[in-house]
Symmetry: C2
Amino acid sequence: MNWVTTIGIVAAVLTTSAFVPQAFKIIRMRQTKDLSLTMYIMMFTGQLCWLVYGISLGDFPLILANIIGGSLSGTILGYKLFLKE
Amino acid sequence: MNWVTTIGIVAAVLTTSAFVPQAFKIIRMRQTKDLSLTMYIMMFTGQLCWLVYGISLGDFPLILANIIGGSLSGTILGYKLFLKE
């Protein structure tokens, strides 16, 4: 595996899993006031579109990344919508 | 342009520009307490890696998306690090 592929994988892992610490912070602190609802609606919808695009092309990395990413941003969106602070 | 390409472009626009409303919310409210610092460090670093990957491959959409995305997440990271609340 050359360095270009390696940096692509590092990029994918970082941008996909970046939502994990945000989800844990919300679960721990039970505060979402400073988070933008519009951001998470756009991100979740966008990741669903990426998922449909990945399925259409049969692109496994795109499918996997957006199942994980969409689950995470969907969790944050759910807390933002329904958490009683 | 077929519907698969269209949904891919919609996906790219949504996930790239999702950080815009979050940045505006921070500038307006001057509050970042509920945002995860770790998330924005990971996202910004990941987008820089995507940018290097895109430059290595000469992939223009990847370069453009990650210049925009990295500028936005970098702005949010800067506010998170330096804003006196």
